[in-house]
């Protein structure tokens, strides 16, 4: 526990959350500059550990890294502060967009814009699939996991929650004995 005021933690994470467009890696550099270099709230090692925890826990890795840092600084109050700080700007903007979206429903120009945007989102998702596959699919086992999950959803229309849980159980059966 440190004696850094919660307000300061909130403001730094508000800044991180407000300027965090897109890429995870630019975000992580931003984190390190603000927290390790400028404010010296964390050592480099503590920061690296927080990033690792952020990536090995369920949920958005960046938010989880922030939660972990908040917890290291101020226990549960710190964790809540960093979460609210990081998502505040995005949430307010999302609500404003929702209000605008509902009010302008049926507007011809907006329908056209969203048609273009929708097509780009499909391209974006495919590029995420491509990037994740490049990192994760390394042998026939991982390929089989990916293909089975794909067919379970695309062909058999099973529930993705059930598919993820089953993949976890199967992972335990397949890899459980080998991992030391």
């Amino acid at each position: 526990m440190t004696n850094i005021p919660l307000k300061n933690i909130f403001l730094v994470f508000l800044k991180i959350g407000s300027f965090s467009f897109g890429g995870v890696y630019s975000m992580l550099t931003f984190f390190e500059r603000e927290l390790v270099e400028k404010n010296k709230w964390l050592t480099h090692d503590e920061y690296i550990e927080s990033v690792a925890i952020g990536q090995m826990t369920p949920g958005p890795p960046i938010i989880n890294t922030g939660i972990c840092i908040g917890y290291k600084l101020k226990k549960i109050r710190g964790a809540l502060t960093t979460t609210v700080g990081q998502v505040f700007t995005g949430t307010v903007l999302a609500i404003l967009l929702a209000i605008f979206y509902i009010k302008t429903r049926g507007n011809v120009l907006l329908v056209s814009i969203m048609k273009g945007v929708g097509a780009a989102v499909v391209g974006l998702l495919l590029s995420i699939v491509y990037k994740m596959a490049k990192k994760t699919i390394k042998d026939y086992k991982t390929a089989l996991f990916a293909l089975s999950a794909f067919s379970a959803l695309a062909i058999f229309k099973l529930n993705p929650i059930g598919i993820i849980l089953s993949a976890g159980v199967l992972g335990l059966l397949v890899y459980g004995r080998k991992t030391r």
């Binding site: 959350g17 407000s18 467009f21 897109g22 890429g23 090995m56 826990t57 369920p58 949920g59 958005p60 938010i63 939660i67 972990c68 917890y71 964790a79 979460t83 998502v87 700007t89 995005g90 949430t91 903007l93 999302a94 609500i95 929702a98 979206y101 056209s112 814009i113 048609k115 273009g116 945007v117 929708g118 097509a119 780009a120 989102v121 499909v122 391209g123 974006l124 998702l125 590029s127 995420i128 491509y130 990037k131 994740m132 994760t136 699919i137 089975s148 999950a149 794909f150 379970a152 959803l153 695309a154 993705p160 993820i164 993949a167 159980v169 199967l170 992972g171 335990l172 397949v174 991992t179």
Partner: protein
Amino acid sequence: MILLKFCWILIVVNALTIGGGYVMLPMLQKEFVEKYHWLTNQEFLDAIAFGQVTPGPLTVMNAFIGYKIFGLIGAISAMISSYLPCIIIVTLVAKYYYTYRESIIVNSSFQGIKPAVIGLLAAVAISLGNTSLVDPITFGIAIISFAVIAFTKVDPTFVIIGAGVIGALFL
């Protein structure tokens, strides 16, 4: 009651979002679009786009969805439900980091989940593509977006805004 159902779905989905923020999309599409019909595929696509162009994680799209279905209370509940599991899990893991990192159960189950979610995301991309790729221009936008994001370092936010401009001009 419907709001509680909505919150419960978000809690479960976020607790199972393993391997990156996009992993929640197949689960959300199944629950919100196909099972409960709270959104259409097009509205779901719009929500993803808004989650992408707003600062912060993609999860912010849940505030948009919450507002669209239930108003302000929906947006706030959506954010609480999305981050509650993260806060609980991360603080526990931070406390027991070494036990967790070495845990065979966690590591081996994640080893199965990580490739599986790629298959799920691919299936959702195709399902959403059926809604949004309807003519040569939309196909072109999707292919160019894919190539730009996959092979360059351009921020997806700019790609989405660019696609909106093309949509305004040609669609």
